[in-house]
Symmetry: C2
Subunit: 184 residues, 2 copies
Amino acid sequence: MARANLSTEAVVDLAVGLVDEDGSAGLTLAKVAAAAGVSSPSLYKHVANLAELRTLVSARVAGELADAVKTAGVGRAGEDAIGACMHAWRDYARARPHRYAALIQRPEPHTGKAAQPLLESVFAVLRGLDLAEDDLVHATRCLRAAVHGFAILEADGGFGLPESIDDSFALMVDMVVASVRSRT
Amino acid sequence: MARANLSTEAVVDLAVGLVDEDGSAGLTLAKVAAAAGVSSPSLYKHVANLAELRTLVSARVAGELADAVKTAGVGRAGEDAIGACMHAWRDYARARPHRYAALIQRPEPHTGKAAQPLLESVFAVLRGLDLAEDDLVHATRCLRAAVHGFAILEADGGFGLPESIDDSFALMVDMVVASVRSRT
DNA sequence: GAATCTTGGCTAATGGTGTTAGCTTTTTAG
DNA sequence: CTAAAAAGCTAACACCATTAGCCAAGATTC
């Protein structure tokens, strides 16, 4: 009966789709199994358990986001590149809020590991400016924190007031760019 | 048998304690009931369901954090107050990472409502500077996003590199302060 | 002071979930 | 062609949230 063409990759695909619809909390092995046309215990042939599946989803999202950020940076330099990457980051989160929120999985401290490619993308952009080595680290952390904080709050509907969120984000970009400029 | 001195307040107290230990995902009505010395169905006399309990925990945390931020701001003015509030915010998150992470509850868009007092605290601090009305909104959003992003990443162990996290946060504070200064 | 109502607890039961164990069938390898 | 591995299945268990219905304690009212 090995007919359903499953694989770890395919299971993660389905899981990501479910996360898009119902959010990360709504992700359940039973639903994934149903979507795959398979009984839930069968999933354990491709995934260790629900926690691991969540970690895999997180890694998938981190990879996608890293690609988007990296792509936005090519052909640009310096402060221009910073703004482009930040916008790409936020745009990803806006396009798929639930998926973006699944980036950080609470019980796993491995998030750092999954976010590795993303960090490298940011690092690459900031490397274009001539900052001291540890300033580079601090700047990367600040950029990441700022844009992640903004993206996650926006994805959560946390900005209730009528003022333009785009304008707020423009200010955030300015903030980061100006700070980096003052350090070069 | 109305002996266990329960109340909605007391249930939230216990829930917050459990969140501190096991994280928000580890919060379960069964555990709260056990901690209260009561059977789980009894909890429904004080709380509508698990989702509501999570919302209440979120509101509790928002209130505590708002107090901490407000307290840090008294007796200070302008840029000094901004830095003090940001540090108080981060310190709260560091002292109780799990509790802090429970601030934002995914399935609820009511987070905005629970975070109201917190927003007002930040607003009060920035009001001390003479910004235009909508600049005030944008600045509040940026400050909130920046410090929340930093706090949540730090609570998650997201900063793996050996460089000083305190230094990174100092840069973040500078970033926000400088941005606000340039707008006055 | 007695009767009533409300409050806050209880047990029993249901449906959904993750997970394990053990079996069977299909596919692959030799 | 045969044996082993891969990938599915059913049955079963423990845990959880939630509902229904019951019962006792305390407050309220006559």
